[in-house]
């Protein structure tokens, strides 16, 4: 898939919000739902690498590749939470290493803004988290995701999670 097709894909998913909101994530399982937005530049083989986890965990985990983390929008993050994601990660390239120069800086600002919005409705800021990929070592998206899955869970769940569809 081309870089821009990925972006269009993400926008399309979240613009058709009303249709996918109930189907995006797993609402039946008691386990945490995780959404991972990540910069494609981190793993050129991400398309293949992430399928393993997707098969293993089903709709508990959703990956959203971006042409650059700077293309993340507050709206994507809000909709992801509203679709049942309990924890949303945004994975960016290390500082100074952004292919488009400032994308990861922009991502940081938008995440901070969205954290303010979710705090207004009583959700913890930690439901959204910025992850800066480690410098130097190349990492595959599934390895990275496994690391994220092992992390401490936030105390709150998405208000949508566990509700009848």
């Amino acid at each position: 898939m081309s870089v821009y097709a990925e972006q269009r894909g993400i926008d399309a998913i979240f613009s058709d919000y009303e249709r996918i909101s109930r189907t995006l994530m797993d609402h039946k399982s008691a386990e945490l739902n995780i959404a991972i937005f990540f910069c494609q530049q981190l793993d050129p083989n991400q398309d293949v690498n992430r399928r393993v986890l997707e098969r293993e965990l089903g709709k508990r985990i959703r990956f959203f590749p971006l042409p650059c983390s700077g293309r993340i929008d507050s709206l994507h993050l809000m909709r992801a939470l509203e679709s049942g994601a309990d924890k949303v990660y945004v994975v960016t390239c290390p500082e100074g290493a952004c292919h488009y120069r400032e994308g990861n800086i922009r991502a940081k600002k938008r995440i901070a803004y969205t954290q303010g919005l979710i705090e207004e409705i009583g959700l913890e800021r930690e439901c959204l988290e910025l992850i800066v990929a480690p410098v130097g070592t190349a990492v595959t998206i599934d390895e990275l995701a496994k690391g994220l899955l092992a992390r401490k869970a936030p105390i709150s769940r998405s208000p949508v999670h566990g509700q009848k569809a």
Binding site: S74, M78, L117, E120, G122, L123
Partner: protein, 222 residues
Amino acid sequence: MITAERKPLSEIKEMIAPYKKILVVGCGSCVAECASGGEKEVGLLSSQLRMDAKASGKEIDLKEMTLDRQCVYEFIDQLTDVIGQYDIVLSLACGAGVQAVAEVFPKVPIVPALNTTFLGETKEAGLWIENCRGCGDCKLGVFAAVCPVTRCAKGLFNGPCGGSKTDRCEVDPNVPCAWQLIVSRLEDMGRLDLLRKVHPPVDWSKQQGKGPRKIYREDQRA
């Protein structure tokens, strides 16, 4: 453009509290430009309200819509088919848009999600600054396109005042002294002569009006 900022969420929630079915309507013009009331902001606010309702066990039915301009009746008419299904309109337009919708649908409750602030320019991405106060008697030609009504804290027409220091306004060191700017621009243009004569007292009736001001154009009427 007209700028506005979203009201505190608590204030919005209080206004819509008695209602279940809410039509959230944004505007694609000025408020979209200043990232407070456009399609995206309608989405963000609606997501917040829905998640908040779920968390508190409240039932709520929100529909998201955005009109190209909420102050023009032709666009407002697009609400006609839907509005009957909702109890209240939560408008993300400026005050002009909110009131225009109320004129078209006077029986439907409508509340503003935004505080309309000022007429201004986008100085940088994410920074909007006031530059016009609609005085109705524009003198930008005399003042090197720096408006003394808007940009001088005291609205002086024969400035600067004694408090202007290192080209900052005495009221706020982050605000440039408009008069310093006027003088230096006119100096660069070789037109300091424009400031030689005393500028007489201003006709403020053009700004105040007698109640709301209006413009009437017979040639534009249907």
